[in-house]
């Protein structure tokens, strides 16, 4: 097996048993990246020489492991553009907590990955810079908004990447690219240094090739952060703790109403097949009732855009980023923002501003927050009866690049992923197979708040029985 084909767990084991050196790991992934990056285009910025970034002094768990970070996470070295031209070439004078944790444990930041501008989008086509391609079929999108991170892992450019998930932005691209994507409970991973889309929904998580790798990565990046008031003040467990424990006896809920919605036939079958595998493994699977998915989607689009309209107000051309001239400061603000934000970002800022404006605030924004309570409570009730929810992730496999869709259709692709952002719960996208077209298919597993360990246990149990390849070959000429 080539080095770049190895999983994160495999690399760590091989390095610890002195079969490979950190420098060799880094060199191998560098070579692989140089081979495939021209076709996949995952990265917006990366160091020239990965091995040179490695510091011998730091020989922690991630020593010599290259990790790709989404371009909305601040790093002291590379650019943090958030996929937007308003932050072209922007270098932050501070580092995100996750970047500190990665480098602090010996890992090397392998680059900043492409994304939809300010994480708003489901295809990564809303990047101001480039289109990233799905490593399994280059004519298709990698999903979004963490499309660059998902593509980099599926293409073998890195064994592990970080994404951010506000409404499915880790899980949906993971599904499109056939890798594991994990959104932990809100507050498990610090948001310090993550350029905010919607502060009460955003959460950083890993994209990896296996469930075990996701758990290992979570062990590194999680923790209480004195810089983040919203980081959960909890005792963090060893997230790999129950990976090897049997799932026999666990109970799974299957939201049958979700499967009756407008979703791809192959995806529906994949979910049912996964349920069957769970039963075979001795787990119980029973039908459950979840709150209507479209309500969660509606509430999500109000809350997310409202917060975003405020979070993105700081991009005004005064302190950093690009500036367009103006006769007075007000004109400068307006010109800078109008010129540099893309249409999707403007659309969401407009929607969010509307939702918060006087006259609509009570009707839309406050109402959405009450619906959020209703949804959260229903989920909590479900979790008093079963351990884990099994359901669809994206309603369809990866779209074709350039496919013309109106905004509402695009927003609909988030329908199964947003409820957990609204409630703060952890959820994982698990590769489950391939479509007839050869595109990855996935299922979603959802756990209760801070139920990461059991969720990872369930995902690992199902993963073993599904046994799906997670590395795209990307042979030349294909």
């Amino acid at each position: 097996m080539k080095i770049y084909e190895m999983t994160l767990a495999g690399l760590i084991e091989a390095r610890d048993s002195k079969r490979i050196k950190p420098g060799e790991i880094l060199a191998a992934f560098q070579t692989r990246t140089e081979e495939v990056e021209e076709r996949v285009r995952s990265f917006l910025d990366r160091p020239r020489d990965l091995a040179a970034e490695y510091e011998d002094s730091k020989n922690g768990k991630f020593a010599g492991i290259p990790v790709a970070l989404k371009a909305n996470m601040a790093t002291s070295k590379l650019t943090t553009s958030c996929g937007s031209s308003i932050l072209e070439d922007y270098r932050t004078p501070y580092q995100s907590t996750v970047a500190d944790k990665i480098t602090g444990s010996g890992g090397v930041i392998a680059g900043k990955t492409n994304m939809d501008e300010f994480a708003m989008g489901s295809t990564t086509e809303h990047s101001a810079y480039q289109v990233t391609r799905n490593p399994w079929n280059l004519d298709h999108v990698p999903g979004g908004s963490s499309g660059g991170s998902a593509a980099a892992v599926a293409a073998g450019e890195v064994p592990c990447a970080l994404g951010s998930d506000t409404g499915g932005s880790i899980r949906q691209p993971a599904a499109f690219c056939g890798v594991v994507g994990f959104k932990p409970t809100y507050g498990v991973v610090s948001r310090y240094g993550l350029a905010a889309f919607a502060s009460s929904l955003d959460q950083i998580g890993p994209l990896t090739r296996t469930v075990e790798d996701a758990a290992i990565t979570l062990n590194i990046i999680s923790g209480v952060d004195p810089l983040d008031s919203t980081s959960a003040r909890i005792d963090h467990p060893d997230y790999t703790g129950k990976l090897d424990q049997d799932i026999a006896g666990m109970s799974f809920g299957l939201p049958s109403s979700y499967l009756e919605m407008d979703i791809d036939e192959e995806i529906r079958n994949q979910v049912l097949e996964a349920a069957e595998k769970l039963r075979e493994a001795g787990a119980e699977v029973r039908e459950i009732e979840l709150p209507p998915a479209d309500l969660a989607l509606a509430a999500y689009y109000i809350i997310a855009t409202a917060e975003a309209s405020s979070n993105l107000a700081r991009y005004d051309g005064v302190q950093y980023g690009t500036r367009q001239s103006g006769d007075n400061v007000r004109d400068m603000f307006v010109n800078t923002r109008s010129f540099s934000f893309g249409p999707e970002v403007k659309r969401r800022i407009m929607l969010g501003t509307f939702a918060l404006s006087s006259g609509y605030q009570d009707e839309l924004y406050k109402k959405a927050l009450k619906v959020r309570t209703v949804i959260k409570e229903k989920y909590e009730k479900v979790f008093s009866e079963i351990d884990i929810i099994l359901g669809p992730n994206s309603p369809a496999p990866a779209f074709k690049i350039g496919e013309d869709m109106d905004p509402l259709d695009v927003y609909y692709t988030d329908i199964f992923t947003v409820p957990v952002n609204i409630s703060g719960f952890p959820a994982l996208s698990l590769p489950a197979g391939f479509s007839e077209q050869g595109l990855p298919l996935s299922v979603q597993l959802i756990g209760p708040a801070f139920g990461e360990v059991e969720l990872l246990q369930a995902a690992s149990g199902l993963e073993k029985r599904l046994d799906v390849p997670t590395l795209a070959a990307l042979e030349k000429g294909r």
């Binding site: 932050t92 004195p226 983040d228 008031s229 005004d316 950093y320 404006s357």
Partner: protein
């Protein structure tokens, strides 16, 4: 004051809290640093950075709330106030909207007639300050402005009064009372010149007897208490004229022009502002327990007005004295220390209100920054009482003690200032002076009794002020009779 109209004023006061660091980051909150030297990624709101609340700022805001008799919202939170301005680094200010820390409070003021009146407080909330915008030219035509974010993120409390104030004088009394309370709490220096206390006013008039409020104008940019009083007086007159002429007051923001001594309309500011307040998702809410409120209450010092009343009662002081002595906490403390050791409290008060305040002013220092203490003042007063020194000499001693901190007895000793009360010693000096001034002696004998003062002065000069003046007077008369 107009007989026809009643003045209705409400004040919004911003007070910068004297914390070490800013409200949400570890930058120094000190005034006067080099431009932008007190900034960091957090107070500049760089992408991805997050606020973390300063414990002491919360405590100060709660102390202010309780000192002003506010109820506390035991579940409170921060909200974002959204608007674009270059001095606002994030495009929103972190403030408090519907759940301020304190609400429904009151400040007691004393009117000119000497009566007390309560001014209601709508709310006290905690928020961050904005940066400072420096215009290269005059506002309106300058080509550039410069932004210094040192002040950005410094903690502020906003204190909003009810429209209970009925005159510019009451407004000033309210500000004085508020400032005194804050100084007593030690949570701000209330320096208006440095912007650590700022005041905006809402002013309206209504026909006496009306229940409904008139249309109000908001007045900004008043840089001293005197300016507030003047601006409000101007504004009241302006509105009176409008109403008398049958015209309407326009609801608008006006700025006080100190050089022209008038309020001027700020055009354009009236466009419907929509701040789109919503809960700040980067900060967790606040839960203020009963125990915490109790602890805050216990930590409050005796407040100025209570102290004043107590001084009147306990020390039998006139209201005026008690008012002056309680102006500052340090002065009141000095008084109590002295009065505890010397039993003529009025005498202590006289010395503090006279010599002490004079020396403070002359030396440009605040109470507590000098070397005097209660024990030393009491000692000085004893020295006068037992005749060791004269009142006049005492002033010299007082000044020395004020500056160097030397005990009065020590000063008297060192400088040889002890009063000459020895009759024989003084009689000798007197005899000499009477002999040297035959004309004056004749005058006195001829009935010009006042002239005796000249001879006493001569004795004082000869003794460099150490003679006991009563004794000198008596001895001079005796000596003249001998002639």
């Amino acid at each position: 004051m107009s007989k026809k109209y009643e003045t209705v004023i409400g004040l919004e006061v911003h007070v910068q809290l004297q914390t070490e660091s800013k409200l949400f980051c570890g930058c120094s909150a000190a005034y006067g640093a080099e431009p932008n030297s007190n900034t960091c990624p957090i107070c500049l709101g760089l992408p991805g950075t997050l606020p973390m609340l300063n414990k002491r700022a919360l405590r100060f805001a709660l102390q202010a709330s309780r000192a002003a008799d506010c109820q506390i919202n035991q579940f409170s939170k921060f909200d974002r106030k959204n608007y674009f301005y270059p001095d606002l680094p994030k495009g929103y200010q972190i403030s408090q909207y519907d759940l301020p820390l304190g609400y429904d409070g009151r400040i007691t003021i004393e009117t000119e007639e000497g009566e007390t009146k309560e001014i209601g407080l709508t709310r006290i909330h905690l928020e961050e300050d904005a940066g400072k915008l420096i215009h290269a030219g005059s506002v309106g035509d300058s080509a550039h402005s410069y932004v210094d974010y040192n002040r950005g993120g410094v903690p502020l409390i906003e204190i909003v009064s009810e429209p209970d104030i009925r005159s510019p004088e009451e407004a000033r009394a309210y500000l004085n009372a508020l400032k005194q309370i804050i100084l007593y709490l030690g949570i701000s220096d209330c320096n208006m010149e440095e912007g650590s206390l700022r005041c905006d006013a809402n002013v309206s008039l209504r026909t006496r007897g009306d229940r409904e409020f008139g249309i109000k104008a908001e007045v900004k940019n008043m840089n001293s208490f005197r300016a507030v009083e003047r601006a409000l007086a101007y504004e009241v007159k302006r509105q009176e004229k409008l109403l008398d002429a049958g015209r309407k007051v326009v609801q608008e923001t006006r700025t006080w022009d100190e050089s022209r001594q008038e309020t001027v309309s700020m055009r354009g500011k009236e466009e419907a502002e929509d701040y789109r307040y919503f809960p700040e998702p980067d900060l967790m809410p606040l839960e203020i327990s009963d125990e915490f409120i109790e602890e805050i209450d216990d930590s409050l010092p005796e407040l100025p007005l209570e102290k004043k009343h107590r001084f009147q009662e306990q020390y039998d002081l006139p209201a005026y004295d008690a008012g002056v002595l309680t102006q500052s906490r340090e002065l009141a403390k000095l008084f109590e220390e002295s009065a505890g050791k010397y039993d003529d409290a009025k005498e202590v008060s006289n010395w503090l209100m006279g010599e002490y305040l004079r020396l403070l002013k002359e030396n440009e220092v605040e109470p507590g920054q000098d070397e005097l203490n209660g024990e030393k003042l009491a000692e000085l007063l004893e020295l006068i009482e037992d005749g060791t020194i004269s009142s006049k000499i005492a002033k010299e001693v007082f000044e020395e003690t004020f500056v160097s901190g030397k005990a009065p007895g020590e000063v008297v000793e060192e400088r040889g200032l002890k009063q000459i009360s020895d009759e024989d010693e003084l009689a000798e000096i007197v005899a000499g002076i009477v002999a040297d001034n035959p004309e004056v002696v004749e005058d006195i004998k001829g009935g010009k009794d006042k002239a005796i003062g000249f001879l006493v002065g001569q004795v004082m000069q000869e003794t460099r002020g150490k003679a006991n003046p009563q004794l000198a007077n008596q001895l001079i008369r005796e000596e003249i009779e001998k002639h």
